[in-house]
């Protein structure tokens, strides 16, 4: 066991360490090197929520009610997920309105109402007293456990309370603070959060792994013990689902509206962005500090401890196991949890009391000698008063209740503020009458259902006379109001308190009017209007402002504040303009708010400095005008929103319906929009492309291509053989980016190629028509002349022979019948010439035929008959004798064609097949109907066509035959004829296996 003096020494030493830490943080802040302004210290400072209730009470609660202790930490975890919306808004409003307490916050929302601030303060002081008492009770109990004696514990408690009060004064009221924030205090609280976490985890590890073999063993043993029900939740277990939900809700409200939580989360916040990390860091802290609660609670029970003594298991277990140093460390951890709460809570409460109750009563005595010192001393007395109020509660009522019972009373009390604050932040019509009525209703329910029974239990009140009649009546039973039974204690107070609170708040707000000041403040809180929208002129000098400040915070401080303001803005006192006077006034109001509260600071400066009746009137009408403008603006905004939504939908419809791929890119070429057509073209879905670099999505679309396409359209052939035409247009707005339009021109390209081919044929047709005419005429003359020459030459030679030798008729006849060598030569030459001329004539005829492929008459014809005629023609070709013809002619309809042209096509097909099979082979000709088409194929077993040239065989003058054997026009003519009949001709061939030409003609022209 420990000596009492040793523990006192330990307590004082620990508090001195805290003070040293706070001092260091303050010095760093003044040097401009803050160690507090970061999200980690902010999150740790929020852990002031974990008091000796957490440290001792959670274990006690777990040992008696199982998992119900978790509700106190799950509520804040849930609430933390709303901090981005709720807490950030509260911080912003508090900073803009220089709010330093919860009562200021509520009072400010409802037209800077001092009455409402005072009401909030009274409820808070009364409601938080049990919570302060809880801390003092915990310290006294732990002190008694460590010293091993309860003798003189009241005196020790008194001493400890005094020490805590004095240290609270040292932390928060050693001078009249003009600052809203106290970095030293916040850093000390953050340090305490680490100490209590380390202490609790130490004892948790000791119990779990030192005395048992881990969590599993403890859980298994407790499950099979008499305490097995502690592991379950629900009806028939120590906690019902309804109570679970109520406690969770209460803790959600507590984390927002306990005065100390408001102080560290809102007033001491140095940067709203810290909230973003705190929303998960703070719940993580809560999770860590609770991990060992069940093992310690169940371990204590398994080791023989009783449920009634479970609050102190964290101390008694190490002590009984002879781990005195661990017990001392745990004591310091518990003390740390309690002191953090007491210091911050008493400071927050004292500031509320000063700003809302004391200053409104005394601020008019400002001209009294030493007025700032009076304020400071009153604040110190209030701090001591708050801590001793807790002490009184601890020794009078506290002994009848567990730590958790006492804490939950305070949670219920601060929940009374919830409707006024939450509705006040989001509902403009909520007014101070409603807020006051709601709070009073909630407070009455709290007093009647929680405090009065506690007073009865402690013996401070007796159930006699009227009291006895009332509390035992059916309607006014404090445990079952209006005869409604079935609630647990906490759900009962929460339900009736919140119900009446909300009804009164909403009802009074609807049926009573707001004044101008309330309207202004409602705009500020709900619509996030900022102060500069309500400009206040100042017609007073810097000296006068300095004098006013001096009356409340001391002359030296006032001089320093004005001097530092002028220095910070780089201006001279005598050259201040109207705007700078207004800024100085704002600075004075900020300083005064820190010292005496927002409401009083406003009153002081309004009375002393600024507003004439005319100016008040101006502000009033300005607010009315602004409210009306806001109403109209909202209507316009709603209309504009609807139009905007329609336009957005309309534009998206256009983009989505466009037959081209449309992609928008940001300045770093990431995809921001991807329409349906581009999905179809590329096969890449919008979700796959969104927010990725276009270069990664479409690798063939490089930065260089985009840059090039910015100047003129670019054409790209993709690896999938798609041809895209790409147009890139930069966005006009400064944020940059591009609109890229993709047009698939693959088909268009093919069409263009076909068009070119047709155009070539048409041109060539015209050309050959002319040429064949020009060549044909002289060729015909030459041919007839040669015929004539042949006959003339032979005749001349015969005549000359008759003239020189006229011997006898027999000789003459014999000689005439024997050709002369010259005549033979001439005859042979002329024959050769004639043969060549015939060949030229053939070419010319082919050319003429080629030229005549258009403009001929068509008639209904049987393709089978045309084929028969063609076969009859070819049959006389001697090469055809080696070819085995296999006709496969199906039942065919009459087709509207030009029979001569089609015959020419068939002829060309068959002659080509014969040429391809010089050694003979098979030619299969099939004709059949397929739907609306007649399909004809000419399949030979010849040499086939090489892959390299197969694409060119329909080109004019292209031939694979030896020189002189083909004109290269046959297939080209066929192509022209078939196209003219709206048909198609195609070829398939394999080297060495043969070639198949397929012709498709439509049945209906």
């Amino acid at each position: 066991m420990f000596q009492g003096w040793l523990l006192f020494f330990g307590i004082l030493g620990y508090l001195s360490l805290l003070f040293l830490i706070a001092h260091i943080a303050d010095r760093r802040e003044k040097a401009g090197r803050s160690i507090v302004s970061n999200p980690y210290v902010y999150s740790l400072s929020l852990a002031v929520y974990c008091t000796s209730w957490t440290f001792y009470g959670s274990v006690g609660r777990a040992a008696n009610s199982g998992l119900s202790f978790l509700t106190i930490y799950l509520g804040p975890t849930l609430m933390a997920s709303l901090w981005v919306l709720l807490l950030k808004k509260m911080i912003r409003i508090a900073k803009e309105n220089r709010i330093t307490t919860l009562s200021d916050f509520v009072g400010s929302r409802y037209g800077n109402s001092l009455a409402l601030s005072a009401l909030i303060t009274i409820v808070a002081v009364v409601g938080i007293t049990p919570y302060l008492g809880l801390q003092i009770k915990a310290i006294m109990s732990s002190f008694a456990i460590l010293t091993g004696s309860t003798q003189g514990i009241s005196v020790a408690g008194w001493m400890i309370t005094l020490i805590l009060g004095v240290f609270s004064i040292i932390f928060g009221a050693r001078r009249l603070d003009t600052s809203e924030r106290h970095e030293g205090l916040v850093f000390a609280i953050a340090f305490e959060s680490i100490v209590k976490l380390a202490a609790f985890i130490s004892v948790g590890v000791f119990v779990t792994y030192g005395l048992f073999n881990g969590f599993a063993e403890i859980m298994d043993k407790i499950k099979s013990s008499d305490y097995g029900e502690l592991l379950y939740i629900g009806n028939g277990t120590p906690i019902s689902y309804a109570e679970w939900a109520s406690l969770t809700f209460l803790s959600m409200m507590a984390i927002m509206f306990l005065p100390r939580q408001f102080h560290v989360a809102v007033v001491e916040n140095s940067d709203p962005s810290h909230v973003s990390k705190a929303i998960w860091l703070f719940p993580l802290y809560l999770l860590l500090i609770n991990i060992f609660v069940l093992p310690v609670a169940f371990g204590g029970l398994l080791l023989g401890g009783s449920q009634s003594a479970a609050d102190s298991f964290v101390l008694t277990i190490p002590l009984e196991q002879g781990r005195h140093m661990l017990a001392f460390f745990v004591f310091i951890g518990g003390f740390s949890a309690a002191t953090g709460m007491v210091i911050v809570e008493s400071l927050a409460l004292s500031t509320m009391v000063m700003n809302s109750l004391v200053m409104p009563a005394i601020f008019r005595f400002n001209e009294m000698e030493g007025f700032p010192t009076v304020i400071l001393n009153i604040k110190r007395m209030v701090i001591l008063g708050c801590t001793f109020l807790g002490y009184v509660f601890a020794i009078s009522i506290g002994e009848f209740y567990s730590l958790v019972d006492m804490g939950l009373k305070s949670f219920e009390a601060v929940t009374i503020f919830a409707p006024s604050i939450i509705f006040g932040l989001y509902w403009k019509r909520g007014n101070k009458n409603g807020a006051a009525a709601g709070i009073i209703a909630g407070f009455i329910i709290w007093i009647y259902t929680l405090l009065v029974p506690a007073l009865f239990k402690s013996g401070l009140l007796h159930e006699q006379g009227l009291f006895q009649y009332v509390v035992n009546s059916r309607l006014l039973n404090p445990h079952a109001l209006f005869g409604v039974e079935g609630f647990d204690k906490w759900s009962h107070t929460l339900f009736w308190g919140l119900l009446l609170n909300i009804i009164c708040y909403v009802g009074f707000s609807i049926f009573t009017k707001q004044d101008v000041e309330e309207e202004k403040q409602a705009l500020m809180f709900v619509e996030s209007y900022t102060l500069p929208m309500f400009p206040v002129k100042s017609n007073y000098s810097a000296k006068q402002i300095q004098e006013i400040l001096g009356q409340y915070i001391g002359k030296r401080e006032a001089v320093e504040i004005v001097r530092s303001f002028l220095q910070r803005h780089g201006i001279r006192r005598e050259l201040l303009n109207q705007h700078e006077y207004t800024l100085l006034r704002d600075e004075a109001e900020r300083v005064l708010s820190g010292a005496v509260g927002t409401a009083i600071a406003t009153i002081i400066l309004e009375d002393k400095l600024t507003l004439t009746e005319q100016e008040r009137g101006d502000i009033s009408s300005s607010i009315k005008q602004m409210t009306e403008t806001l109403r109209l603006s909202r209507q316009e905004l709603a209309t504009a929103n609807r139009n905007l939504a329609y336009l957005k939908e309309f534009s998206e419809n256009i983009i989505e319906s466009a037959p081209v791929g449309i992609v928008t890119l940001d300045d770093s070429l990431r995809v921001r929009y991807w329409n349906k057509e581009i999905e179809t073209l590329t096969g890449i879905r919008k979700s796959e492309a969104f927010n990725r670099s276009i270069v990664a999505v479409l690798p063939w679309l490089t930065r260089e291509v985009i840059q090039e396409a910015e100047h003129h359209d670019a054409t790209i052939l993709t690896p999938q053989f798609q041809t895209f035409e790409i147009n890139v247009s930069p966005f006009k707005d400064p944020s940059g980016g591009f609109v890229v339009i993709f047009e698939d021109i693959t088909e268009k390209r093919k069409m263009e190629e076909q068009l070119l081919q047709t155009s070539k044929l048409a041109s060539l047709g015209k050309l050959t028509a002319g040429i064949s005419h020009e060549i044909g005429n002289p060729l015909a003359s030459i041919s007839s002349l040669i015929q004539e020459l042949r006959s003339l030459r032979i005749g001349t030679l015969i005549s000359s022979r008759e003239g020189s030798r006229q011997e006898n008729a027999e000789e003459k006849r014999r000689t005439a019948l024997q050709p002369l060598p010259e005549a033979e030569f001439i005859e042979g030459s002329l024959k050769t010439i004639n043969g060549h001329i015939e060949r030229i004539a053939n070419i010319v005829r082919s050319l003429s035929n080629f030229a005549r492929t258009s403009g001929r008459d068509k008639s209904m014809s049987q393709l089978g008959e045309i084929l028969d005629r063609t076969i009859n023609l070819v049959r006389y070709d001697k090469r055809f004798r080696n070819v085995h013809l296999i006709p496969e002619i199906g039942l065919l309809p009459s087709v509207r064609v030009n029979p001569d042209q089609i015959q020419q096509v068939f002829l060309n097909m068959m002659l080509n097949a014969i040429d391809a099979m010089p050694e003979g082979g098979e030619l299969t000709i099939s004709m059949k109907q397929e739907g609306d088409m007649v399909v004809m194929s000419f399949c030979d077993t010849g040499a086939g066509i090489d892959d390299a040239v197969i694409d060119r065989i329909f080109d004019p003058f292209f031939t694979t035959k030896p020189v002189g054997k083909g004109t290269g026009l046959g297939l080209s003519i066929c192509y022209g004829i078939i196209r003219e009949h709206n048909g198609r001709i195609s070829v398939k061939s394999k080297n060495g296996e043969g070639t198949t030409f397929t012709i498709r003609l439509p049945v209906h022209d």
Binding site: L67, T77, L78, L82, Y241, W244, A245, T248, L284, L287
Partner: protein, 57 residues
């Protein structure tokens, strides 16, 4: 979903997960369920926050 809707969704999901009927569904292992979901919920908040910060909200 905008910022406000996401946080309201996270909050309401949490309210549901930490209350009836889920508590009844997992009543036989309520202790492990509560601590497990608590940890996952904190992780979810952190991830949502990180995602929003990446989106610049």
């Amino acid at each position: 979903m905008n910022n406000r809707e996401i946080w309201l969704f996270v909050f309401l999901s949490g309210v549901l997960l930490f209350n009836w009927p889920f508590l009844e569904i997992f009543s036989q292992s309520a202790c492990y369920y509560l601590f497990g979901i608590w940890g996952l919920y904190i992780l979810a908040i952190k991830l949502f926050m990180a995602a929003m910060q990446r989106r610049g909200e």
